[in-house]
């Protein structure tokens, strides 16, 4: 069964450093998403991406964050200058593109990358 994969599973970084989290969505999916979940808190939407551009983003997704689809398979989240409060589990998700529904379809989540900022 196809699945979303994420690397690394755990990333430890120093405050102020840049990190890139990588995701390989399911191959025929066209919508991609990033979420984060701070330990013990709820899952928070960061950004959605379709047709090589951001389609929606939340207030959390400020200039510190960027997303990219550098090739036909990877989808990345870059955090430019990490802060202590960026420590969280980051989930990537993907979904198909059902015509006329704007990506409103079941999202398949990856296993997550645990980011620890020291």
């Amino acid at each position: 069964e196809p699945e979303v994969t994420q690397t690394p599973s755990h990333q430890v970084t120093q405050m102020g450093q840049e990190v890139i989290l990588r995701c390989v969505p399911i191959s025929n999916h066209l919508y991609f998403y990033w979420y984060r979940q701070i330990l013990g808190q709820k899952v928070e939407f960061l950004v959605s991406f379709y047709n090589n551009e951001i389609s929606e983003k939340s207030e959390i997704f400020d200039d510190q964050f960027s997303v990219e689809r550098p090739d036909g398979s990877n989808f990345t989240l870059k955090i430019r200058s990490t802060k202590l409060e960026d420590s969280a589990m980051y989930f990537c998700a993907s979904s198909e593109d059902p015509s006329g529904s704007g990506g409103l379809n079941e999202q398949f989540f990856g296993p997550g990358t645990r980011l620890t900022v020291l």
Partner: protein, 108 residues
Amino acid sequence: EDQVTQSPEALRLQEGESSSLNCSYTVSGLRGLFWYRQDPGKGPEFLFTLYSAGEEKEKERLKATLTKKESFLHITAPKPEDSATYLCAVDYGQNFVFGPGTRLSVLP
């Protein structure tokens, strides 16, 4: 302020003891409501999408229903493997908002 809440926060059931989880939302312009299951240390696993009031979806021991202000996830005769955190999420166009989840424990 648009909001998604879930109750109860935690629920302990005996195996076979049916119950319901609630998801209430105050967002305007609902495009869809989603239910997910999340096991510890893993990503959410999709269960259902509901689009309009009155809609119902079923999958094995789970049944999801939707009204104009809330959704219920009914669990019939649960088994220990149903133990997980159940999340609801709402898409209202500008954003995709998750509730805090209900942590379900099913005891053998």
